[in-house]
């Protein structure tokens, strides 16, 4: 019997009650290999106003490009202690922040490796279903050949690439603009 997937509904404003037990803002436990990065930003609405009732969820590979998941067929073992999962809420100013390691490159659909990236889900009150996007890293030569980035109009690609914060090693800024000028690229998977 085929039954279509259940309809999405918004998380509403009160999700903290049910989702805060799994908030994870540090994906990089001590001892996990890889270059540490801190990614901070804001979720902003179509008026540029901060979204204080949002959540960003992260899924990423370890520093060797291996996912901690049984369906990753690559013949290498996943980094012990690295789960690749993050969930961070926004604060009253719409800000979120998490610490992780730079993911390794994982295979893409075209026989080439993808550029290092984090798969991201954005949930807020007012979003009837999640928005799917990706975070890429700055100064990464492989970005130029990444198949997903190349699906995106050149003028909008930079919405997917985090920016370095000058003077702070490993600190990156990446914002989610839900609507309007500078609107973040969201994917349909």
């Amino acid at each position: 019997m085929n039954v279509p997937a259940t309809t999405w509904q918004t998380i509403g404003p009160f999700f903290k009650i049910g989702l805060s037990w799994l908030y994870r803002d540090n994906l990089a436990a001590p001892g996990v290999s890889g270059e540490r990065v801190e990614i901070a930003g804001r979720i902003l609405d179509g008026d540029g106003k901060p979204v204080p009732d949002g959540i960003v969820e992260i899924w990423q590979a370890d520093s060797h490009g291996k996912y901690a998941h049984p369906d990753d067929p690559q013949e290498k073992s996943a980094e012990p202690g690295f789960r690749g999962y993050g969930r961070v809420p926004t604060d009253d100013e719409g800000r979120f922040c998490f610490t992780t390691i730079k993911p390794g490159r994982v295979p893409g659909p075209d026989g080439k490796l993808q550029a290092p990236h984090l798969a991201v889900s954005v949930f807020t009150r007012g979003l009837l279903r999640r928005l799917i996007t990706r975070i890429y890293l700055p100064d990464e030569p492989s970005n130029a050949e990444d198949f997903a980035l190349n699906l995106v109009d050149a003028g909008r690609r930079d919405t997917l690439i985090a920016r370095k914060i000058e003077g702070r090693a490993g600190a990156l800024e990446w914002n989610v603009i839900l609507q309007g000028v500078g609107e973040t690229v969201f994917f349909d998977v």
């Binding site: 309809t7 509904q9 049910g18 998941h69 807020t124 007012g126 690229v185 998977v189």
Partner: protein, 241 residues
């Protein structure tokens, strides 16, 4: 070359558009640009795996998280998590949150002047068993007013968050109750064109899970995106397609 099936796209009409004007909060938050179609890769067909050890065993009974019993009508909410081929989704995390019996959330932003219940937090989680079954004991949530439009009231509902096996199968939804007179007027429940799809958000009263002298049972089966029948192709580094 490895062949791993990806997950199906949603059936047309069964999912809400991001912009749904009757739901006022969507107007400034829905993206206006078209979503960019992204073929699924290893990043989308894998996803977080949660170990059963992270579970709080008390979290599946929302009536026993405090020293006393919460007020309201005790209910059993149970069902199965299945994929679109009706195959069970085992060992997947199910998270829920809800208002108390008076229609008030334990949240600093909830200004509804209904009483809080010191014996009810309104959050729970559990993991499906090998047959995809889950079960919560809770309190029937109350309806409550909200600011969407004049005299707006949300029908009674329980929020559900599910993971499934992959990033692509993530689902957040709400469960409703049969016969709720507010359903025809609720812009969130009505955000989806397909009436059958909407109605599958309504739980069914269930004698089988009703416990005599204790609690009524409501059944809510949840369907996550199923595997494509044709596998997507992944290539290891250096292999020719």
């Amino acid at each position: 070359m490895n062949k791993i099936p990806g997950y199906r796209h949603y059936v047309a009409g069964t999912q809400p558009n991001h912009l749904h004007r009757p739901y006022v909060s969507s107007i400034k938050r829905a993206p206006l640009q078209a979503l960019v179609p992204l073929p699924q890769t290893l990043s989308e067909i894998t996803g977080p795996v949660f170990e059963p050890e992270i579970l709080d065993v008390k979290a599946c009974d929302l009536t026993r998280q405090h020293s006393g019993e919460p007020l309201g009508e005790r209910i059993i909410v149970s069902g199965r998590v299945l994929d679109e081929n009706s195959r069970p989704v085992p060992q997947t995390l199910v998270e829920i949150w809800q208002a108390n019996a008076a229609g008030r959330y334990l949240h600093s932003w909830d200004q509804h002047n209904a009483p809080l219940d010191p014996n009810f937090t309104g959050c729970g989680h559990t993991m499906t068993d090998s047959e995809g079954r889950y079960r919560f004991v809770t309190i029937r949530p109350g309806e409550y007013p909200w600011g969407n439009h004049d005299n707006a009231w949300r029908p009674a509902h329980i929020h559900f968050s599910l993971w499934g096996p992959a990033f692509a199968t993530r689902l957040v939804t709400q469960m409703y109750f049969q016969g709720d007179p507010l359903l025809p007027f609720d812009p969130i429940f009505n955000c989806t064109d397909d009436e059958k799809a909407r109605n599958r958000l309504i739980s069914q009263f269930d004698w089988e899970t009703t416990i005599p002298s204790q609690a009524l049972g409501f059944r809510f089966d949840i369907f996550l995106s199923g595997r494509e029948s044709t596998p997507m192709e992944t290539h290891s580094h250096g292999e020719k397609p």
